[in-house]
Assembly symmetry: C2
Homo-oligomer: 525 residues x 2
């Protein structure tokens, strides 16, 4: 005998709807239309049905409630007469402005006066944005601040995103998908993408990897988060970073680890002697194209670094834009030479788009279980559809084609920026032009203003840039980091002209030879 406790409930008539949790049991006998009208009116009044929201079709709602369709159409009709609903033909029945509201608000919910998020990115005044010591929300604020010309670095030519190829690949993926592929998947990532990444790394970066070693992650940001967790488990709580070096990467590591000591970078890359001197057990590096200086790790320095690693040091290699070289083949990844001592992080952000939040992480065998555990308890794995689409683009050669197209576009934009700097910023030194998506400019120390002040003044003129001092904690000349990849040449020229004018203008031009500069103009780091 089956002692099902829910037998009664099972057999009960369906008398409810998800929509507004309507339950006809509440209605007085014979008063269904009044009841429904009242419930709908309340929902419009208290904001659960904001202006612009669409009501279920009367047929559908009637079926869900187990009432005749006339009950629903009558209730809708009464509210339409009261001006709260409007029929929109095939658009269905839509909530219009509340009687109390002046003008119809287009689909903006008139809901609770909730306290906004503490870290909500409002259009803050620019002087707060460009502080010498930026807080963790700084990139949110920077992104949320509108500007006519956006020369901040970090993104490729996004207008070139291969929409048609993406959609074709998505169609093929959906056509070929088994139902089970849409369930909870492999925490390490879809097998097809892990294989495509292994092929890509072998072909383009000299890295041999078994697909089982590849962990698909939500971009380099997540790679650093997972490493932060995993390194903590093996007792590593300190990771040295290049200086200058990416502020964003440093913030991510600092969130998860106890310390991120800076190691100076010179014309050959990171100073390995200084790295040894920190005593840090691990280091985060951008060897193929150092961020932001653009230096390629020199041959002797590379050998010195590999000796440091062979002596027990752990390298975290952020191979963030190695594929974007304009002069020659990129150097192979460090991972290719010493896989047992190198964690390798790559991503699609600079090849296709950061908004895809997709990257990969390879770690030495002893770290694998801890990194996989960190990924599991972060999010159970990346979403599967974009992974499968990306795998198709990588294996079909579409991504290689896109990269070739990007290189041509980026090279033109880089050339436009260099030409504009030559004309408008003749005292600037350009670094890192042979590769990547950005240039680093250093400016003479006698400029007489901090680079954060220069960035602030530029933003006031509609040009958004990053001050170099954001990326440095050790003494370094003032400067700017300028992205060119996502901006058409005309806007690049215009933006650089504004920067040039600001440098020349009163308040910025008079060189100060010695002593402290005027108040507030001291460059801080």
């Amino acid at each position: 005998m089956n002692r099902s406790k829910d037998a009664a409930a099972e057999r009960s008539k369906e008398t409810g709807a998800d929509f507004l949790q309507l339950d006809t049991a509440e209605a007085p006998p014979g008063g269904l239309t009044d009841w429904l009208t009242g419930r709908l009116r309340e929902a419009v009044a208290d904001g659960r049905l904001p202006a612009g929201s669409r009501l279920p079709a009367s047929r559908v709602l009637a079926a869900e409630l187990g009432v005749s369709r006339g009950v629903v159409t009558d209730a809708y009709g009464r509210l339409a007469e009261a001006g709260q609903l409007a029929g929109r033909g095939r658009g269905g029945t839509v909530v219009v402005a509340l009687a109390a509201t002046a003008a119809p608000a287009p689909a903006t919910p008139a809901v609770s006066a909730a306290v906004p998020l503490a870290a909500d990115p409002p259009a803050r005044p620019a002087p707060v944005l460009f502080r010498a010591d930026p807080d963790p929300e700084v990139f949110d604020h920077l992104r949320g601040t509108p500007a006519r010309i956006d020369l901040t670095p970090g993104v490729p030519d996004l207008a070139a995103f291969p929409r048609a190829a993406w959609l074709r690949a998505e169609r093929a993926v959906l056509d070929g998908l088994a139902g089970a592929d849409l369930g909870y998947g492999d925490v390490r990532g879809a097998p097809a993408l892990r294989q495509a990444v292994a092929h890509w790394l072998a072909r383009n970066r000299g890295v041999r990897a078994d697909p089982d070693e590849v962990l698909v992650v939500a971009g380099t940001a997540q790679a650093l988060a997972l490493l932060g967790r995993a390194l903590g488990r093996v007792g590593i709580t300190e990771v040295a970073v290049e200086d200058p070096g990416s502020l964003g990467a440093r913030q991510h590591l600092a969130h998860w680890l106890a310390a991120t000591p800076p190691v100076p970078v010179d014309g050959e890359g990171i100073r390995v002697d200084a790295l040894r001197a920190t005593g840090a057990p691990a280091v985060l590096l951008t060897p193929a194209h150092q961020y932001p200086t653009g230096v390629v790790l020199g041959g002797e320095r590379r050998r010195e670094l590999l000796r440091w690693a062979a002596d027990g040091g752990l390298v975290v290699e952020d191979d963030y834009d190695a594929e974007h070289r304009y002069d020659r083949a990129p150097v192979p990844a460090l991972r290719a030479e010493l896989p047992d001592r190198v964690c390798y992080a790559g991503s699609i952000s600079k090849l296709l788009a950061p908004a895809l939040r997709t990257g990969w992480l390879l770690v030495p065998a002893p770290l694998r279980a801890a990194v996989l555990d960190a990924k599991r308890f972060a999010d159970l794995g990346n979403p599967v559809l974009p992974q499968l689409v990306l795998a198709r683009l990588m294996e079909s050669g579409e991504l290689d084609r896109h990269l070739r197209l990007l290189r041509r576009s980026h090279r033109r934009r880089r050339d436009a920026m260099i030409a504009a700097i030559r004309s408008h910023l003749p005292t600037a030194t350009v670094h890192g032009a042979a590769a990547g998506l950005h240039l680093m400019l250093t400016l003479p120390e006698e400029l007489g203003c901090s680079d954060t002040e220069l960035a602030t003044a530029a933003l006031a003129r509609g040009v958004k840039v990053q001050p170099l001092s954001w990326h440095a904690r050790l003494p370094y000349p003032p400067g700017l980091v300028l992205g060119y990849a996502a901006v058409p040449p005309g806007a690049i020229t215009e933006g650089v002209a504004v920067l040039g004018e600001l440098v020349r203008r009163a308040g910025f031009s008079p060189p100060r030879r010695s002593g402290a500069p005027a108040g507030g103009r001291r460059r801080t780091r």
Copy 2:
């Protein structure tokens, strides 16, 4: 004057390719073809170019290397003669099996003998899989273990995934997308999805939320991870959980927090007196449809819980399948009644597919900054394309349509499962049939075997189920958690018949009246 350090590099001829990092400077004078052939042969031999991988078109590679096309076609030709490459017409030039390999391996890289991941999900023997105290990898192992009939719970009818609607929405999204939308986006999620979620919650769950309060997350797993981090920052390191209650959710909380004390669940839901007795400052709940028992939190119990919360307790509401009710309108979310004391987590996993890894989290205002910070340093935000597609499906009514279709399909499957249980497992008690995607069965204590043993025996017969004891730490009868939503009725009936046979068969059927059951048959928790 521009002091560009890279002037020489800039002007240098392009003589390299990403592909295998080929650099023509290495070639001896007059020996380009020999050099290229040798480099390609090495790459095939050492696995960088595995069988099945495709080479660049000769025209493309020649352009990248700055050599004549004949050099590339000659090199390809020589390797084709040696049997290492094959022309595939429009399919391009493809690597075929190594000479040393017997048969062509289809696109499986013959690369390094890397140590497999420690947590690699192999087809482990079933007895290890169904241990009484499962480890964090247990769901990976369970997923990775093949079975003819998969009755594990947690997924909706995945074959019904609205592929055509998804693809249409994706096309519309790609058509309307600005380039900047593909850059680094709002950490909180795409504004369009936050608005769609706010509308959905208002319409379907009685929850009023400003879109600015909604945080888009990678499913409930990530919601728990972010809360774990954020609660730690406000000094909460202990979150009580329902018992029985989801093993997966408990594992996630336990990864991030110091303690997860169990609180018993009875026919009215969580025992609030027992919750008070734990002294825990917070509790994770599934009030709309308790997991796994299916109990709806009773009215008086609900009021008692809200009093506990008003006294300073914090509720984490996992509203995991509230939309799937078959009998009446779902109860409104607790969040609707006490937004200042309830963190609310919802997800698309049970409405569309877990593989989308998309959910939402609402928290009381004082926790918002910490939760946002946790999301930022987890992954900088969800991928944007699936968010925008989902927003369209939610706002257009497609998701409501899909939910109605799912309810019909799920109801048929539930009915098939209940009928099969009635026939084949007459001693079982069915719980939670009025809603959701699964049933909970309890079995008589005198069954004479543990439910993990039953699950093990079932898997050996090709039927995958979860033992109820996985989800309980306090004393509770043995049982099974059976998912029906993703399985066609015929397979459900067949699977339940196997379970019935196992319960009846020797070793499982003889009721034991007293004393310890035979060795190894004691039910453990």
